[in-house]
């Protein structure tokens, strides 16, 4: 029982990352009809927004400590962050400590700008081109973004810890009447789950309850008619692309403390997020979220020892098995509409 509860928690946590990435991807599919292979790279850039902000906040000047020596026997260079010398050691340390949550604010404008620039500068010219061309150009773009990050930050993962108050884990089991230490879950992962729920909710209500969202939904259904009605759908689509980029970026920012960001983390998520989107049904927002949580949970259960002892290696392939089964039984994924991306 406790093991099952634990894996449900794991599934929700994994699922929230999948759902956030897939949400942006399916938004771009649904609104613009573009296959965006650079979406994983946007997630990665989000994570590097957190890295960058933490580097900026801990910008340091160097003082030489004569009492200690470095590996060459020279006086040790001790780095003192400007933040600590300006605001005093305590506040300075706190600012650096909170760099990941602060990066949320930092990343939104950055990601929106990247999204706008991408759409206006590149994607716009590919609306009428075949999907194959879109794949090639966005894949090329993803490689370029990846290599730029690698050039500046190297290939190694960069530890980006969450604020100290979130270290350690919360003992859920006690709440449910289990013994202590049976069901524990890290605080930051709980924060991640809550955060993604908020973002998903925000995107849905934005599309559902605002005029802007109404126009975009109309555009998703029938772009030409909306254009004929004299509505400038292009501008709105640019904004939609920016929002999708920002959602991917936020998913990345908050993911940075969970796993140290590295330059190819986007590619690790790319295939998975496509599977999630397609299982959910092309262009369906609720489908993407549902599929994200479904696949996350199933993946977690497949990694249980009890399951693995019956089907060795099942955790390697569970995502794909489920994807195949769903696509064979439900032709357009869980909630896909007819005619979208079927040619």
């Amino acid at each position: 029982m406790d093991a099952i509860i634990l894996q449900i928690l794991n599934g929700l946590d994994k699922g929230s990352a999948y759902a956030l990435i897939a949400l942006g991807l399916t938004l771009i599919f649904g609104t613009l009809g573009v296959v965006n292979f650079a979406h994983g790279a946007l997630f990665m850039i989000g994570a590097f927004c957190a890295v960058t902000l933490s580097k900026i906040l801990s910008l340091s000047y160097i003082i030489l400590d004569e009492t200690q020596t470095d590996f060459l026997g020279k006086p040790l260079k001790v780095k003192v962050p400007y933040a600590e010398s300006w605001f005093g050691p305590e506040i300075g340390a706190a600012i650096i400590d909170w760099s990941v949550p602060l990066a949320i604010l930092f990343s939104i404008p950055v990601m929106l700008l990247i999204g706008f620039a991408m759409e206006r500068g590149l994607i716009k010219h590919f609306y009428k081109r075949p999907h194959a061309d879109q794949i090639l150009v966005t894949f090329g773009l993803a490689i370029v973004m990846q290599e730029i990050i690698k050039y500046f930050y190297g290939a190694n993962p960069i530890p980006t810890p969450a604020p100290d108050v979130f270290t350690g884990s919360y003992d859920f089991g006690v709440l449910l009447g289990f013994d202590p230490n049976v069901i524990i879950y890290p605080y930051w992962r709980l924060v991640y789950f809550g955060f993604s729920a908020i973002i998903i909710g925000a995107v849905f209500s934005f599309l559902r309850f605002t005029t802007f969202g109404m126009v975009v939904r109309a555009g998703m259904a029938d772009r030409e008619t909306v254009g004929l009605l004299g509505i400038d759908i292009d501008k709105r689509f640019t904004l939609m692309f920016g929002i999708a980029a920002a959602v991917a970026g936020l998913a990345g920012v908050m993911y940075a403390p969970i796993n140290s960001p590295n330059y190819h983390m986007g590619m690790d998520f790319l295939v998975l997020s496509f599977v999630v989107v397609v299982v959910g049904g092309m262009g369906s927002l609720p489908g993407a979220v549902l599929a994200g949580f479904l696949l996350g949970t199933l993946e977690s259960f497949a990694s249980m020892n009890e399951v693995k002892s019956i089907f060795p290696g099942i955790d390697q392939i569970i995502i794909y098995v489920v994807a195949i089964l769903i696509l064979l039984t439900r032709p357009r994924g869980l909630m896909g509409r007819k005619g979208v991306m079927e040619d």
């Binding site: 150009v137 090329g140 040619d343």
Partner: protein
């Protein structure tokens, strides 16, 4: 000629001549000059050019004609490689049975996957093929290690039975792959002044097979069957209204292209008897998609060009390091030299991915039809000027 019209026959002859003369064409720079870095005329890379050419030609039969975008074709290549290596381990080092088995196994495997995946179309089809290929890769890497030797890749050992051959040669090494005694690795080197050209038996086997594969693909493109496949691409619904069932045609195209992939895998193992699981990874499937689109999907020669382009970058650009750069620009004053090296360095060596990514974007932005369109534009340019056709840079002899 060979049942082809004049235009296709000319193309075939040109391709045949180019592949046969590749050892000359790919080595335009004297071997001691600084530009020798850009020479690609050594056996391994030439083999890769034609093998990936075969792979891309096959992929184009499916994607270029029917429009079905498979993201799992690397699985067939991988399966082909594994079967070929197993043939070397169990039967003999002759490449013929190995290649035949790899084509057959890849054909059966693609029949199975194609039968299931072709129940869906569009992106749903792509994801189904992707899922099958990723499953094959993940299993080959871990659970199936007894068959695939996992991470290391399937290799020959001195203990293999090789019932029709020998387990080990007289001097105690593993025998090498051969075609009835002609060793695949044997190379004849021709030195002409500062140039050195390498003629490799394995390359010529691959080249002959590629020309045959190319010929077959022309025949398929021009056949009624090919026309049917194009009909599927342009309007499947209309096709079924005329009373034709498109499914057997697409499945046939899928299996044919799977067999091409298996052939490529078998050849790869014949040139270098090792089969690694990474050959089946989605990045490998993605690579053949990129090759085809980059060269020009649906054109005859495009996929081959795309394959050559990507393999050239992977093998030539990744080997340029800063020492090489410094030696190129050493004629400049020191400060300027360092500046130039600093500016160029991010794009070569460890940064070759960056250049590749930029090239993908450039080609697709400026040449919507791929490299083939680039070629056509150049030809038109010359025609308009009424100039002589583009002169190939031939090494002076």
């Amino acid at each position: 000629m060979f049942g082809l019209d004049k235009k296709d026959a000319t193309l075939l002859v040109i391709v045949a001549i180019l592949t046969l003369c590749a050892p000359f064409l790919l080595n335009p720079f004297p071997s001691e000059s600084a530009l020798a870095q850009f020479n690609a005329g050594y056996p391994d890379l030439m083999q890769r050019f034609v093998i990936f050419g075969i792979f891309a030609i096959g992929f184009n039969i499916l994607f270029g004609l029917t429009g079905y975008l498979s993201f799992g074709h690397a699985a067939f290549l991988g399966v082909g490689s594994y079967s070929a290596v197993w043939m070397f381990k169990l039967l003999s080092m002759n490449v013929i049975p190995a290649i035949i088995l790899s084509v057959v196994v890849a054909g059966l495997f693609s029949l199975l996957i194609g039968f299931i995946s072709l129940r869906r179309s569009g992106i749903y089809f792509s994801i189904l093929t992707l899922a099958f290929a990723q499953m094959s890769f993940n299993l080959a890497y871990s659970v199936l290690t007894p068959i695939t030797n996992g991470e290391t890749g399937l290799q020959l050992t001195l203990n293999d039975p090789r019932i029709l051959g020998q387990s080990a040669t007289a001097d105690g090494s593993i025998p090498v792959t051969s075609l009835f005694g002609l060793e695949m690795r044997s190379t004849y080197e021709l030195v002409m002044g500062p140039w050195a050209f390498q003629f490799n038996a394995g390359y010529y086997l691959c080249a002959v097979i590629m020309v045959l594969a190319f010929y077959m693909s022309i025949r398929i493109f021009r056949s009624p069957f090919g026309l049917m496949l194009r009909a599927i691409k342009s309007n499947q619904t209309r096709m079924s209204y005329t009373g034709l069932n498109p499914k057997p045609y697409t499945l046939a195209a899928f299996v044919i292209s799977g067999m091409y992939a298996g052939l490529a895998g078998g050849l790869m193992a014949s040139m270098d008897p090792l089969a690694g699981a990474e050959r089946m990874q989605w990045t490998a499937s993605g690579e053949v998609v990129l090759m085809t689109i980059l060269g020009g999907a649906g054109t005859l020669i495009g996929p081959v060009l795309g394959a050559g382009f990507i393999k050239y970058f992977e093998n030539i650009f990744s080997k340029i390091n800063d020492t090489v750069l410094h030696s190129w620009f050493s004629f400049m004053p020191d400060g300027l030299e360092n500046l130039v090296v600093m500016l160029v360095y991010p794009f070569i060596g460890k940064g070759w991915h960056l250049t590749l990514g930029l090239m993908f974007m450039m080609v697709v932005i400026f040449l919507p039809g791929g490299l083939v369109e680039g070629g056509q534009r150049i030809r038109r340019l010359f025609r308009r000027k009424d100039d002589t056709p583009a002169a190939k840079t031939e090494p002076a002899e």
